[in-house]
């Protein structure tokens, strides 16, 4: 390892230790902000993990998030917490596998259309079930989880997501996905099972999203379908990942942090115009920064002058 790598590792570890002790030093407002930051960091990174290399646009984040939140609302009081999280992850993963197997074999359009409506579909099914079977819409979430617990769980999940992403990028699966992203026909001719690779990654990414929903669920004491399956989350996650740059593992975090802060600010100060502003921000990113901050960074780093000084250093 080069000295700069070691320095980076030391900085990362000390940063994580500081983050781990954060709940002891900040007040409730900043803790809640930190939770939002972690939540969107994990969601956007998980989104980029699938959509970055494959270039399939998934608009289903809210569907998985909601499934996770609802699983906790239903089972949270009955079973032990780790078991509840495990079941949530299993349901989310299974749902992703079914959706992936039925749409990812077809062209990308079918996937987009299906994921576009998935949150709405699951919401309708949950409403239908609650109205017909339990006869009450909405549930109370009574579990023995403190705000600090939620924060730490999210932190662990964030570390796990980056670890998973790092491992995938260095595995055969990651290599296959990069080829698929470049040219799917070429990938097929190389003997890569394109469908399996795509479905596997989509399932991993969706399982993580489901877990975020499950962990965040105790933050609300009352939950109903329109809260859990709020399509705005899907939208925000796509913007964040795009602003940061979805083709790099660390890209989405560069978008998640500034945009979470912006959205928090907007929803507190200008609730009636926040949708409009989000749309404008989104268009600006699509037109001005098509490959995100990470892409910009890659371009800057690739400049001749920069390369020259690097060579001189070496």
């Amino acid at each position: 390892m080069s000295p700069s790598r070691i320095a980076l590792a030391v900085a990362a570890i000390s940063g994580l230790v500081m983050l781990a002790f954060l709940p002891f030093f900040v007040n409730a407002y900043y803790l809640s902000l930190a939770m939002s930051l972690l939540q969107f960091t994990v969601l956007a990174t998980a989104w980029g993990m699938f959509s970055g290399p494959t270039r399939y646009v998934s608009l289903a984040t809210a569907a998985f998030f909601g499934v996770g939140a609802y699983t906790v609302a239903v089972l949270g009081e009955v079973l032990a917490w780790p078991l509840v999280l495990g079941i949530a992850a299993a349901i989310g993963g299974l749902m992703a596998a079914v959706v992936g197997l039925s749409t990812l074999r077809l062209s990308g359009v079918h996937f987009v259309i299906f994921t576009f409506g998935l949150a709405e579909l699951v919401r309708q099914l949950v409403v239908w079930y609650e109205v017909n079977k339990t006869r009450v819409l909405g549930r109370y979430v009574f579990v023995d989880i403190t705000q600090n617990d939620i924060y730490w769980q999210l932190l662990v999940l964030a570390i796990a997501v980056f670890a998973i992403g790092w491992i995938i990028a260095r595995s055969r699966l990651g290599f296959a996905l990069r080829i698929i992203g470049e040219d799917e026909t070429v990938a097929q001719h190389c003997g890569i099972n394109v469908t399996i690779a795509k479905v596997a990654l989509f399932t991993i990414s969706a399982t993580v999203m489901t877990l975020v929903g499950a962990i965040m669920s105790p933050r609300w004491t009352y939950i109903e379908p329109s809260i859990a399956f709020n399509a705005t989350i899907s939208f925000q996650v796509v913007i964040m990942a795009l602003l940061g740059g979805a083709h790099r593992l660390w890209g989405p975090i560069l978008g998640a942090v500034p945009l979470t802060l912006l959205f928090e600010f907007l929803s507190a100060r200008f609730p009636s115009t926040s949708t409009l502003v989000m749309g404008v921000v989104f268009l600006l990113i699509v037109y001005a920064l098509p490959s995100g901050v990470a892409g910009l960074w890659d371009r800057v780093a690739a400049r001749p002058l920069w390369r020259l000084t690097k060579k001189a250093e070496a």
Partner: protein, 289 residues
Amino acid sequence: MTNAVLTGLMLGGMYALIAMGLTLQYGVARIMNLSYGEFLVAAAFASYWLFTGWALSPLLGLTLVIPLSFGVSYALYRVLLTPLVRRARTRDALEVESILATFGMMFIVQGIMLAMFGGAYYSYSFLAIPVQLLGESLALNRLMAFGLAVVIGLALYLALTRTRIGTSIRAVAVDPAAAQLVAINVAQTSALAFALGGALVATAGVLISMFLTFSASSGVVFTMKALIIVVMGGVGNLLGCLVAGLLLGLSEALVATYVDPGLTLAVNFALFLTVLLIKPAGLFGRAQR
């Protein structure tokens, strides 16, 4: 039973009309427009505003809304979407870019409507007179909207198959590269098709506002149904639009009557997947890609 079938057919006719504009935008201009439903709702609000504020009949309102929406869509394509068309290297790349750009537009249009009208549901009463048809009583406004949808659909079909511009539009839909070789201005034709699609969805919006309640955030559902119909029928195919639209309307009405009205979306998706798993290019689509 007759009632469910009649309702289903009329609903399906409206769906077909809604999807026709999108099949032009997506099939010809290659823009997968996720903000499509928002333009439908915007036209519905325009019609509401003209009717309640100026006592202008929605049918007269159409003569204002159609040219306006045509112009707005044309400008939108020229200003916002042409840069994407130029930037995209392949058709798939353009698809991804247009999804992202129109996704942003969806929130902008929705945001403007939310700021103007809030989140409440709107409706107005126009020609809500019961009419007897095959022993069933139906509202006149629905019947008239359906009639107009049929007329517009026929007119569009004739325009696309019998006129020179229509033929060039169809040529671009089939193969833009080859169309260029026979001296068709692809950029111009795409813009025209996109604007035509915008005018069609606005017409659908005005017609729907006569009998359906709508809110600033109800566009997404229309976008989804239109997308499903377009892809199910075969992209860029008007006949496919009609058949898929009727299929969707009928199945929705039957499920709503006999099973549960809360499951219509589930039916849509089930139908969508079934058709695509059997025929990935859609009911009337050519196998390609």
